[in-house]
Amino acid sequence: MSVALAVEEAVRAFGGVRALDGATLEVEPGSITGLIGPNGAGKSTLFNCVSGFLRPQSGRVLLDGRRIDRRSAHRIARAGLVRTFQTPRVLARMTVLENLLLAAPRHPGERLGRALAGRSREREARARAGELLELVQLDGHASALAGTLSGGQRKLLDLVRALMAEPRILLLDEPIAGVSPALRVELLAHILGLRERERITLLIAEHDLDFVMRACDRVIVMNDGRVIAQGTPEEVRRDAKVVDAYLGAKHQ
């Protein structure tokens, strides 16, 4: 059975609050899976448990069939699972470009085309960083300190930092919240292109339904620390439980 990422009965509590209360889900390789749910449903905690920033108190997390729930965040990242943050952490005293170069994978490019082109790793990383900065319209800020970026721009930097690492599985935590409408459209196009070109697997927690409906093949809905529904965007949109817990009557 081919599953890129599996979470089985994950539990994580903070004090008396069970942020994850037996969450179980699977993400297919090469898919773009949306993760939606009311505020406090456990989406970010799930991301934290999957990416090694938190340990689930019980349950398992499997990446390509291997358990990773006891591994540290950097080992999980090296294994190809990279995530972004709702409130990103940037290295404020380093330039925007340096932030990106630090995220470049250490191993030489696995992509045959680039390896044959004979470009040095450093030059390759710089070229890729340049392209990514252009994508999020930060190319004019490459040599500015990351600490001078606005909230929205930091978010975009965090996104391209994650892309810079050339992940196999990318978890995006609210990628377009705080991003201008025009740029949202471009990010959507890029994310779709990324899957097309690089067969990257994406799990995206996002509240913007329009974005989720257009980007995702499958949608998983969480509430109270559990998965309450999943299916195609259309199936989920019609699900009464989802409308009750998440969409509200106006979206019916």
Binding site: G37, K43, S44, S150, Q153, S180, H207
Partner: protein, 278 residues
Amino acid sequence: MPTSEPNISDKLKPVTYHAQAMSLLEVTSLEAGYDDAIVLRGVSLEADAHEIVAVLGPNGAGKSTLLKAVYGLVTLRAGTVTWEGGDVTRVRADRLTRRGLNFVPQTANVFPTLTVAENVHVGSLVVTKTERRAAIERVRELFPILRERAGQRAGTLSGGQRKLVALARALVAKPKLLLLDEPSAGLSPQAMELVFDKLLEINRLGVGIVMVEQNARRALALAHRGYVLDAGRNAIEGAGAELLHDPQVEQLYLGGSGMIASSSTSTSTPSGMKPETK
């Protein structure tokens, strides 16, 4: 914004030397930034108690910095801020809160180690003791989460829940005007509707709102007036509904043509000028 041509009724009013025609908040030609990065290059804005004003613009346009500069959190290089007709340029944030101007930041907007109830209590400290109880009761009615999660530490709330607590904490200080940095970012559709409904409700109670928003269409539909900033300057301003259908806004910001102007090729009109439609 310089006042447009006075209409007849203005001319008939007796001339007085204080704020007869002034808005609650008037911001004129603000310049501000961080270290050597200049973010605001002369932004003007006004807002009144009965108004909802939206501030829009591409990422990095200076929207959040504008709110912080007004609220005394960023050092100003130039420009003035007046509040109820008096100069409050460079007045400290806590003093502004006492005078009825309050701010909810985009992130870091709650005290994480305090409980939800304690957060609200802290917000209420600027209100006189006799009024405090009623003020807290009022926000508890507006925001059910304050009761449901009263004893929970704010740091363990989700991002969206924190937004509601932060909004409640600002409101309990009984402000005349609220500066809100992206009140809807990170909220579920239902929670977003709730917040926008609450904002309307709050506004109808006479509280003015100046909000930075990226959910531009939603914000403009709600706002009486809107400003679009670009590269630290006023680019376009007008009535909310008007901006929603303005081709220039579409091009500069909403992405109708698929591109937004980069900071170097700004299509800004000079500060205060009305856009020429078409």
